[in-house]
Every structure is written in C-alpha cells, then in structure tokens.
C-alpha cells in the first residue's frame, strides 16, 4: 500500500442498524463485524496479505477496501512479522489494527513479534503501553488443504501469558466476539475455523452473544460433558445427537475462549455430569486438551467418575487431504472413546 495523506478514508454508510434477519455465513458475519467496528471507530485499521481489493483469500474483508479506502484497508508487503510488528507500532500510536495471517501455518514468521512483544508489552511497560491489536488467524483443517493450510496452532498462543485467545464456532458468535475483540484494549488472537467459514444461519445484525471470554453450554445433558471449540463444536453436537439415539445424554460446551479459560462454566457442567472429554483437531501431546484435562482434574477431582479424555488429532503432522478424514476426531470415534470408560 502507499499510505498517502491525501487519501481520506471514506466512512461507510453507518454501522449495522438492527434490521431484517438475513442468512449469513460465518465469514460474512466476520466481515460485518469488521465493517461495523470501522464505522464506529476511525482508529480501526485493517491490513495484511490480499485483504484489499481481493477481500482476503477467504473473502472475510470483502468490500471493505472499496468502502473505507486505502488509508484504512490495505494490502501490506508479504511478511507476517512485518505485519504484526508494524501493528504494534500503530497500536502504540493510538490505532486499533486488525491484521490477518493468511493461514495458521503462515503465522509462524510472526511468532517472535507475537510472543515477545504483543504478549509482553503491557507488562513490560507497567501498563503504560497497551496494544489493542486483533490478529485474525484462519485455522484448522477439514477443507482439503495442502500442507501448511490446516494447522491448529492454538496451543502455541495459549501457552503465552498476555494473549487472549478466542475462537467462534458460529456466525452469531463470529460477529459478536470479533466486535468485542476489536473493542478490547488488550491484544486478541482471533482464531477462525476455516471449515466453518461457509456455515450459514439466519441472523439479525448487530447481534450480541455471551462475552467472548466465557464458555457457553450449547446443549444440556446429564451423562457426559463434551468440551469443544471452533471446528469441533459441530462434531460435538453431532456426537450428542447420535449419543442420544443410543441413550447417552451428552452436554456440549463451546469453550469459545481458550485463554482465559472459563473455569466456572466448565466446572459447573463437570460437577453435574462427572465425566468430560475435550475434543480438538490439534495433536494430543502437549496440546490444549492437556491443560483442560489437568486443570479440570485439579479443581474437580472428587466430582469425577472417570478420567477426562482427550479426543484429538494424532501426534503427527496434519495429513494430506485424502487422509485427513482419518485424522480428524469424528462422532464415531468420540462415541467409541466414551464407551471405553467404565460406566
């Protein structure tokens, strides 16, 4: 981009006003959230790879370049560390950058900027410099992606104090959580489940769902709690339906926020059902599920009827497209795992 001072970013035609219900995909809901945030707050700027005229490889930023112009929406040079590093400087000067990492595995060049600066700046400066940055990362698989396009990299971020890591699983949350992330004074890693981008629901915008740092019980049950997030929420809901047919009453929780972890909501469910399994696409060893299982066990040991299970991807790199169905936790695999407990 050439940032020219002559360029006046055109404000849009007004943030979404409560209107007619529309059928919206998760990607479209994200798009609306960014747009509305940009209308409401002139310090919100958007940049990254191909987010301009193309509208992003997943079209999440579709139309924003046309609406807001070069000063607010721009294609940056192709360098992830540069994208995050310059976002830090912008945030230091009163902007609220929303930046896109094109794919999960392509966020790794920005690892140092995220871990050493985004996460630590506020602490290092005793709160004098806060970084209201949103780093959007499309993640996870089940899209037939070639290598490097299906990673679930959440545990790298959740292992880093100072980062808020959230992930929506449906269009309403996508809108509401992204608005909240952009409004947050602290940096947010916003992980977008690629396989859910095109899932649609009927929705009236603007919509406000539960706070982005809380978990939500999506389906009540009495026998077991399934803890899912992002792409595995749908898997968990399908599992619950199949389980019901087999007489198993499954409660499904959408974690939504990976860091912080909503201990209260999750523990309450676990104390009711006495059994839980956490489901994610990422590999198991040292994965996010390990933290979930450990902390829930520490806090609820005497309520547990069985060890908390991790039903996850295998401890191998994400496979090539023709093999990914064998890698991803499926409802069958989950039900089999649950049946393995002593009941």
């Amino acid at each position: 981009m050439t940032i020219t001072t002559q360029d006046t970013g055109q404000a849009g035609s007004g943030a979404s006003v409560a209107g007619e219900p529309e059928t919206l995909s998760l990607a479209a809901a994200l798009n609306a959230a960014i747009r509305d945030a940009m209308v409401d707050d002139p310090t919100v700027v958007l940049f990254g790879e191909d987010v301009g005229p193309l509208g992003g490889v997943f079209r999440v930023t579709d139309g924003l370049y046309a609406e807001f112009g070069e000063t607010r929406v721009s294609d940056s040079p192709l360098a992830e560390s540069g994208i995050v590093g310059t976002a830090i400087g912008m945030a230091m000067y009163g902007m609220r950058p929303v930046v896109e990492m094109q794919f999960d595995a392509f966020s790794y060049p920005a690892f140092q900027q995220i871990v050493s600066h985004v996460a630590k700046m506020r602490n290092r400066t005793r709160g004098r410099i806060t970084l209201p940055i949103v780093i959007r990362i499309p993640y996870a698989g089940d899209i037939g992606g070639l290598e490097h396009h299906s990673d679930s990299s959440e545990a790298y971020w959740t292992a880093t104090p100072g980062l808020t890591v959230v992930t929506p699983s449906n269009p309403a949350d996508a809108y509401s959580m992204l608005r909240e992330a952009i409004a947050s004074d602290d940096p947010v890693i916003f992980m977008e489940p690629k396989s859910r981008y095109w899932s649609k629901v009927e929705l009236t915008l603007p919509v406000q769902t539960a706070p982005m740092t809380s978990a939500v019980v999506l389906r009540e049950g009495t026998d077991v709690t399934l803890l899912a997030y992002g792409p595995t929420v749908k898997t968990a809901l399908t599992t619950a339906e199949q389980g019901a047919e087999e007489g198993l009453s499954i409660e499904v929780i959408d974690l939504r926020s990976l860091s912080p972890f909503d201990d209260e909501t999750v523990s309450a469910s676990l104390r009711k059902t006495g059994r839980a399994a956490v489901i994610h696409e990422a590999a198991q060893f040292g994965g996010y599920g390990a933290e979930v299982a450990a902390r829930l066990t520490e806090r609820n040991f005497f309520y547990l009827a069985a060890p908390i299970l991790r039903i996850t991807g295998f401890d191998i790199p994400y496979p090539a497209p023709k093999l990914e169905e064998h890698f991803l936790p499926s409802p069958d695999r989950i039900l089999t795992a649950l049946a393995g407990w002593e009941w």
Binding site: M1, T2, I3, T5, V45, T71, S76, P77, A79, S81, G82, V84, G85, T86, A87, I88, G89, M90, A91, M92, Y93, G94, M95, P97, P109, Q112, Q113, S116, H117, K120, M121, R122, N123, R124, T125, R126, G127, R128, I129, T130, P161, G162, T164, S184, D185, D186, T213, P260, F261, D263, E264
Partner: protein, 409 residues
C-alpha cells in the same frame, strides 16, 4: 584450496539407468562457508564526514553536500557526549562491583548515540536497543530509571509515553518494525511525528530488519533507521554478516536513500540524521543511515573480547575517539573556553554522583505487582487473581515471625 570430487553421476548413461552410487574414496574436508577472498566488485565508498580524525574540517569532497552544524550546536553535542561518557564509565564501574546484572556499554559510540537524540523533536519517538542507554540519558531519562532494568527491578524502568522512548529492545531488529508502524500511524493521522530506530550491524541480518526497511519504503513511513556499525555482533565481525560493501548500500535495494557516515564524527552524524528526520517529517519517506564506529568495550561485562579480537585493533579505534576529535576542532575554533570545560566537567561529575546515589537507594519492587499489568483492568482474569492470592499468602507467611509459621495458612 580446491578439491576434486569423483563424479557420482554418469552423464552418458541413459535416463532411468541407475548406477550404484560411487563413494568418494576419501572424504574431502568440507568447504568453509565464507571463503576468503570474497568477491569485492566495487571498492568501499568513502565515508561521509565533516570533521576528520585530526579534528580539522574535512574536505568538501567528503561532506556529501552537508554543511557543518553551527558551533553552538557542536558545543552542545560535545557537552552531551562528555556527560554520556562519564555516565558510561560510572555504570561500567558499578557493574564491575556487581551492582548491576549486566550493562552493554556504548563507549566510543557517543557520536551516533548523541546525534540520534539531538536530532529529534520532542514529539518524535525513539526506538532504542539494550546498547543505547546514553541515548535515553540524553533524552532526559533519569539514571535510576535507566538502570532499573539492568539491575533487575523491572523489564523497563521509565515512562515510555512521557519520554516517547519505546522499551529498550533486546530481540534484535524487532523494534525497527515498531518504529515503522508508529511512524505510519502518525502519517495516517497527519501528525508530524517521526520515529527513529537504532539498530546494530549484526541486527541488520535479521529478517525483521529487512521487513522494516521494506515496509517503511513501501509505505513511505516517516522513519529513520540509524545502524550503528560497531563492527561486532558480540564476537562476530561484520564480514560474517553480509557480503555487500556497506550496510548503507542496502538502502538502494529498498528504494530509499542510504548514507555511509563516519560514525565517530558527531558533526556529520548530526547533519545527516537531522536532514533525514526533516525529510521524513516533510513527507519524503524513510532513510537508512550507517554510522561506522567501534565497540571499544566488551559486548557486555560478561563477554571476553580477547577470544576474538586484537587489543591492537581496539587501540586504533581509541585513537579515532569521537569526543577527542570534536574537542580538537572546538579548541582550534576557540570555541571551548576553560569556563565551559569546567562547567561540563561539573555536570558530568554531578551526574556520576547521582548515578552512584541512585544505586544505594533500595529498589521498592513489590512482588505482587507482578500480577498488576499484564491485562487491562477490564480484562482481569480470575485465575490470575488466584495465583496472586497464592503469592500474597506465601509472602505473608515469610513475613510472619518464625514461631507462628503456618498462622497465615
């Protein structure tokens, strides 16, 4: 040395015909990565300078078209360099006494450090490294606040917003991107703020340096990159970092001006940095400046330079001292009266005394503060509050008289 490898591939054989691999009968030694003599297609360009080593005005041909700053400016720069060096000497002494965990000295680099800061307007931002404490000092950060990080109180001890100085960066070259981002934001807001970032020669090998140069040039950010080429990255000399003539040469590849400046000539450094800042402020985009200087001291107090460089080389560079050079010039111009010298010495000694004093004051670190700053109050985390309470209880127990151990449990 050349080695001939036995051919393992029979180029005559028809495609698909696989021959058993032929092992070289004797493994030749591996080739060194950087084989001297390295190609040097173009001679190193002359250094831009305004005052030569002997303290005389340099010939116009070496000035790059820059004019000598006025004597009053030079006198101010001289004072700042002398004071900064006294600080450096004092802090190095404190470090040897074990009162600071570590301290990277900029002894011998005063011309670059002071010129950088002296060229900035109050609204401008400085993005320094661990090496650049005297730049902070010259911009007005009190010694106690500079030393807070080196003596281990907190990771950054000054008010970054008040001084418009980012935390001293340790991860190399990362701060250059922050400078570009801040400068770009200022440009978007139509502010006249400029950002200047200091980098080491070694840091220019980092990917972030490349990304910062490129982003700055593409976005025409009002930013100045001042690379202090002190010729070493800890133990590694610059010819192991790059194969091109100068660091300044790289600017042309990014589409911005680059200057190869005598980094021990504060007059030249000041003239070039000021011009670059003015250019940035008036919409002319970024500049890359290389100041050729020398790291007289060890990398930090825990380094041992005798393992990788000759004391004789250091002596050569001691002889090219930036302060002595300007002093000779000022004396020859009759611009350094005895009263002025005495006043500069007084200021330097007062600062040294204040620096010693501040080290005797107890740091008032409160362990519970560890939990106070990571998140904004609006995103405070209950689980972190639990950990804070845990430490508070532990501290209370430690503070309690030993006979009542456990009373606070």
């Amino acid at each position: 040395m050349t080695h001939s490898y036995p051919m393992t591939l029979n180029v005559e054989s028809s495609p698909g015909e696989h021959l058993p691999p032929v092992q070289p009968p004797v493994q030749p030694p591996m080739q060194p990565l950087a084989q001297p003599p390295r190609q040097a297609p173009i001679a190193t360009p002359p250094l831009l300078r305004l005052i030569d080593d002997a303290g005389h005005a340099a010939p116009a041909a070496e000035s790059g078209g820059f004019a000598l700053p006025p004597l009053t400016t030079l006198l101010r720069l001289y004072r700042q360099m002398v004071v900064a060096r006294r600080f450096e000497a004092q802090v190095t002494a404190l470090t040897r006494q074990g009162r600071l965990a570590t301290y990277p000295s900029a002894l011998g680099q005063e011309a670059c450090e002071i010129a950088a800061v002296a060229s900035l307007a109050p609204e401008d931002w400085l993005f320094p490294t661990y090496r650049d404490s005297i730049a902070l000092l010259t911009r007005g950060v009190p010694p106690e606040q500079i030393l807070a990080s080196f003596r281990g109180d907190w990771h950054s001890g000054y008010d970054q917003q008040q001084h418009r100085i980012a935390p001293q960066a340790t991860p190399l070259a990362t701060q250059a991107l922050h400078a570009v981002g801040l400068a770009t934001a200022a440009k978007l807001k139509r502010h006249s703020t400029v950002a200047l970032t200091l980098l080491g020669d070694g840091a220019t090998s980092e990917g972030d340096a490349h990304e910062a140069f490129n982003f700055a040039a593409v976005w025409q950010a009002p930013v100045v990159f001042l690379v202090q080429n002190n010729q070493f990255a800890i133990s590694v000399p610059l010819d192991k970092q790059m194969a091109c003539r100068t660091i300044a040469d790289k600017a042309i590849g990014y589409g911005m001006p680059g200057y190869y400046v005598d980094g021990n000539d504060v007059a030249a450094m000041y003239a070039v940095v000021t011009a670059a800042i003015d250019r940035a402020r008036s919409g002319g985009g970024p500049t890359l400046i290389e100041g050729l200087t020398y790291r007289i001291e060890a990398h930090t107090n825990s380094d041992d330079p005798s393992r990788y460089r000759n004391a004789a080389d250091v002596d050569v560079w001691r002889g090219r001292d930036p302060i002595e050079r300007l002093e000779k010039y000022l004396v020859s111009e009759g611009a350094l009266p005895a009263a002025e010298r005495a006043d500069i010495t007084r200021e330097a000694e007062e600062l040294a005394a204040a620096t010693r004093d501040c080290m005797t004051r107890q740091a008032t670190s409160d362990p519970l503060e560890l939990f106070d700053h990571l998140y904004s109050p609006s995103s405070a985390r209950p689980a972190l509050a639990e950990q804070r309470a845990f430490l508070a209880a532990e501290l209370a127990e430690l503070a309690a008289p030993s006979t009542d151990k456990g009373a606070n449990r």
